[in-house]
Subunit: 306 residues, 2 copies
């Protein structure tokens, strides 16, 4: 696999909340960027920062050495990379394709195989850290693929993230991200159940947090999202509908691997109930509303009810 030792031209596909922030860091780090986004207006800040526009993913690839994608669902990844006007159609031997969408491990393997036939390296590199991590370049990047290709992109990883770790071959980055989401899903259930128990038992929620948040029951979700739940702030850091996509991928992979994950399955069902109640565009901490609903509690009116 030939990797160009000096990457200067990057392509970027997907200028959502995450992608816009991440690509912005690469531009500021000195990379010449060519961008495409389904909705062009969302790419305006990047164009103003000096990025060139391309009409489709293929055209992005034709102008670039390394092409990054971060889009919505696995079907979007498939179209954007493997489609007729997709990234691979515009790639030259020695190019590197990096999908940073949280997507299917098996699709990452399929892309890597299709890329290899064109002497192109394909890397899966989903991230955790959310919009704040994208903005502050503090993401954790979980990387799967060819070790040499991954190493050649070190300046890019450093520009976007605080932690970047190669987890193995193609798909391993996606698998690591699934581990991340499983940990979060089960723990969010605990955060919600703990807080609703505290409320129903008549405790003051802030006072309970003083006792439990910094000890063995402590977690990032409790300290950060628990606080938002108490404040009845259900605005999205991370959309419920995207989380439900991720949990579906994890459960499918688990089924394929003959792996029983009862906690994840339960969390998934409760998140589906949350979507059914119209909260797909709320933040993941809105799971509290489902737990409250199950026990006939109106979480948002609880202060008035006291």
């Amino acid at each position: 696999m030939i990797i160009q030792p000096q990457i200067t031209r990057i392509g970027w596909i997907g200028a959502g909340v995450m992608g816009a922030g991440m690509c912005g860091h690469l531009i500021r780090a000195g990379f010449a960027a060519t961008v495409f986004n389904r909705t062009k207006s969302k790419a305006e800040p990047l164009l103003k920062a000096g990025a060139a526009w391309a009409e489709n993913p293929r055209a992005v690839a034709e102008a670039s050495d390394v092409i990054f994608t971060i889009v919505g669902y696995p079907a979007d990844v498939r179209r954007v990379i493997l489609g007729p006007d997709g990234v691979l159609a515009g790639c030259k031997p020695g190019n590197v394709v990096v999908d940073m969408t949280t997507s299917e491990p098996s699709l990452a393997v399929e892309i890597a195989q299709a890329a290899a036939r064109r002497k192109v390296a394909a890397i899966d590199a989903p991230v955790s850290g959310g919009d704040v991590g994208a903005r502050e370049a503090s993401l954790s990047i979980m990387i799967g693929g060819d070790a040499q290709a991954i190493e050649s992109l070190r300046p890019c990883w450093k520009a976007m993230g605080k932690t970047f770790v190669r987890q193995g071959g193609p798909g391993a980055g996606q698998h690591a991200k699934m581990v991340n989401q499983i940990l979060i899903a089960d723990n969010m259930l605990g955060v919600c159940e703990g807080l609703i128990y505290a409320y129903k038992a008549g405790l003051d929620l802030e006072t309970v947090m003083q006792s439990v948040a910094s000890g063995a029951a402590g977690s990032w979700s409790l300290s950060n999202l628990g606080t938002r739940i108490i404040a009845e702030d259900f605005a999205p850091g991370f959309f419920v509908e995207h989380f439900v996509k991720d949990l579906g991928i994890a459960l499918n992979e688990a089924k394929r691997m003959k792996l029983s994950l009862p906690g994840l399955a339960l969390a998934n069902q409760l998140y589906l109930s949350l979507v059914a109640h119209g909260h797909g565009r709320s933040g993941t901490q809105a799971l509290q509303l489902t737990l409250a609903e199950m026990s006939n509690i109106d979480w948002r009116k609880r202060r008035a009810n006291k």
Copy 2:
């Protein structure tokens, strides 16, 4: 309620791993201690440190201003405090009884009522932090009861813990501890499921931890018990059988409050399976063995299987 302004004589009942460490801190802080334990030999270190021995809980109370109990199950709490030779039988008006066992909130209320009839204050003050917290005086103490009585014991709380917070009236300390255990139970399920997914997906577990432990998926349990699971170290920090007791109390309370906690109920069932397989005296992280068993994986032989 008359509280003696200078407490010098403490009573201590329960010299297990937790109690021995906590009482030792009080003795070193200058309190004169009288102790009782069902098995006298376990109290020997405290007797050597200067504590006096009493033949039963009543005799402990007769020699003390404040009497602490930390025993096993709610039935033990009931016998030791409310029984014929129990603490209350030996109490004088103005005494304070502090139960630090993790026990039933309703029993804490019952004890407080029985104590009040004798002009005795009763406080529930369960702790989190485990054997290490007891040894290092870094416990989180969750306290329920009369505010003035609790305040009068400040020197005792400071000698034993790092965090001590009044959560409300009688039973509120126990309720806060239930919140703590609910948070831990659901999160432990996530830690186990995340790690078994990682293993089955062929990832290196230590490498996955590098990506997930310090971000949004991070927790005390993942960093501390996850590491032990990876090392196949199932020695008890906290016994499974005690945790199962706590989860049972939490589920009973939830039922009484008409509160649906599906994640806790699931975790409880899986912990019961763990007990059924003979792991009651393992540490709570042994839940991994139940998750592995469900997917027909022998976690302890996984390295050889690779």
